[in-house]
C-alpha cells in the first residue's frame, strides 16, 4: 500500500518522510509514548489488512492489536534497509497467518458457495452489495496458498511487488499463485468471466462503510 492510499483508511495522507524512523529511534531510546505516533499512522492500514484476512471486524482489531504488540517487541529488528511499512506489513502478515492457523475463520468450501444471481442491477444496491460480498467471502474459502496472495494483492492496490515483499516471496511465484487463485474464482463464478456481466454484478461505489 503506498502512502497516498493511506488517506482512504483514515490516517494522514502523506506522513513526514522520517516520522516512522524518528519515532522508532525515540521508542528504542526508552520513550514508550513515541509508539503512539506509529500506531496512529498505521492503525488504519493494519486493521484493514486484518479485515481482509478474516472479514470479522472485532477479530480484525484483535489481530491488528497483536501485530502492533509484536512490532513493539521487535522494533529493534527493523534494519531500515527496507521501508518501515514493508517491515510492518510483513510482520503483520505473519501474525495474521499464525492467528488464523490457531483459530481459523469459519468458512464454507468454495464449491458450496452459490454464484451471485444475475438479477442484480445498478439500481438494486442491496443485491449488488450482497453479491460483491459473496465474492469477497469466497476469497477466504480459497486454499491458503492462493488466498493470501489475492488478499495482499488487492490490499496493496494491485501492486504485485508490494504484495510479494509482504509475503517474502519472489514476484514470479506470487504472480503464479495469483493467476491460479483468479482461475479458481472464475471457475466458481463463470458469470464474472464475461465482461457483459459487469452491469449485472458491479455496482457504482456507494462510499458507505463496510459492516463488520
Amino acid at each position: 500500500m503506498n502512502v497516498e492510499s493511506l488517506s482512504t483508511t483514515g490516517v494522514p495522507a502523506v506522513p513526514p518522510p522520517d516520522s516512522d524512523a524518528a519515532d522508532v529511534q525515540r521508542v528504542l531510546a526508552g520513550d514508550v509514548q513515541a509508539f503512539e505516533g506509529i500506531v496512529r499512522r498505521w492503525q488504519g492500514p493494519l486493521v484493514n489488512m486484518a479485515w481482509r484476512y478474516c472479514r470479522d471486524r472485532s477479530r480484525a482489531e484483535e489481530m491488528a492489536q497483536e501485530a502492533f504488540l509484536r512490532a513493539w517487541r521487535g522494533l529493534s529488528q527493523w534494519r531500515q534497509e527496507a521501508s518501515f511499512s514493508t517491515w510492518l506489513f510483513a510482520l503483520a502478515a505473519n501474525v495474521f497467518r499464525s492467528e488464523l492457523k490457531r483459530f481459523p475463520t469459519v468458512n464454507v468450501p468454495i464449491e458450496d458457495i452459490s454464484e451471485p444471481s444475475a438479477s442484480a442491477t445498478q439500481h438494486d444496491d442491496f443485491a449488488t452489495k450482497t453479491n460483491n460480498e459473496t465474492l469477497r467471502r469466497a476469497v477466504l474459502a480459497l486454499p491458503q496458498r492462493y488466498r493470501e496472495p489475492l488478499v495482499l494483492f488487492y490490499f496493496h492496490e494491485m501492486d504485485v511487488g508490494a504484495a510479494a515483499r509482504t509475503m517474502g516471496l519472489p514476484e514470479g511465484t506470487l504472480k503464479a499463485r495469483l493467476s491460479r487463485a483468479r482461475a479458481l474464482l472464475k471457475k466458481r463464478f463463470p458469470k464474472l468471466s464475461r465482461p457483459c456481466a459487469i452491469s449485472e454484478i458491479i455496482p457504482a461505489r456507494t462510499g458507505k462503510e463496510v459492516q463488520g
Binding site: V32, R40, Q43, G44, N48, F68, L69, L135, L192, I202
Partner: protein, 131 residues
C-alpha cells in the same frame, strides 16, 4: 498516437475484469475509537512489566556438566560391557562357579547409581533454593 502506459493497462484490466473490479473496490473500514488507546495500554503494560528472569547459567553449568559426564561415562561403560557380551552370547555357556562374584559387583554398581541419584536430587534442590 502514444503507447498506452502501464497505468492505462492496469485501468483497462480492472475495467474488463469484474473480479478485479469487485475486489479492488472494497471500502476501507475505520478502526474503532478506542483502538489506539487499547494498543497503547497493552504496550505500556508490557513496558512496565519486569524483565524476564534470566536462566541461572552460572549455577546450572556444574550440574549440567556433572549430568553430561555421568551419562556419557555410563553410556561408554554400557557399550564397553555390552559388545563383548553380545559377541560371546552364542559361544559362551554360563558357568555357575565363575558367576558367583557377579552379584557383589552388581550391588556395587547399584550403590553407585543410588549415590549419583542422591547427589543429583540434592543438587537440584539446591538449585531451586529449597535446601
Amino acid at each position: 498516437m502514444s503507447q498506452p502506459t502501464q497505468d492505462d493497462q492496469i485501468k483497462h484490466a480492472i475495467e474488463s475484469d469484474p473480479i478485479d473490479r469487485i475486489l479492488a473496490s472494497e471500502e476501507p473500514i475505520l478502526p474503532s475509537s478506542g483502538f489506539l488507546a487499547s494498543v497503547m495500554e497493552r504496550v505500556q503494560g508490557e513496558s512496565r512489566a519486569p524483565a524476564p528472569i534470566p536462566f541461572p547459567w552460572k549455577r546450572a553449568v556444574p550440574g549440567i556438566l556433572l549430568a553430561t559426564g555421568t551419562f556419557g561415562w555410563g553410556a561408554y561403560e554400557f557399550i564397553r560391557e555390552a559388545i563383548p557380551s553380545l559377541r560371546g552370547l552364542e559361544t559362551t555357556q554360563p558357568q555357575l562357579t565363575t558367576a558367583l562374584p557377579v552379584p557383589i559387583e552388581h550391588a556395587a554398581w547399584i550403590a553407585f547409581a543410588l549415590a549419583i541419584s542422591l547427589l543429583s536430587w540434592k543438587l537440584s534442590r539446591r538449585l531451586s533454593g529449597q535446601s
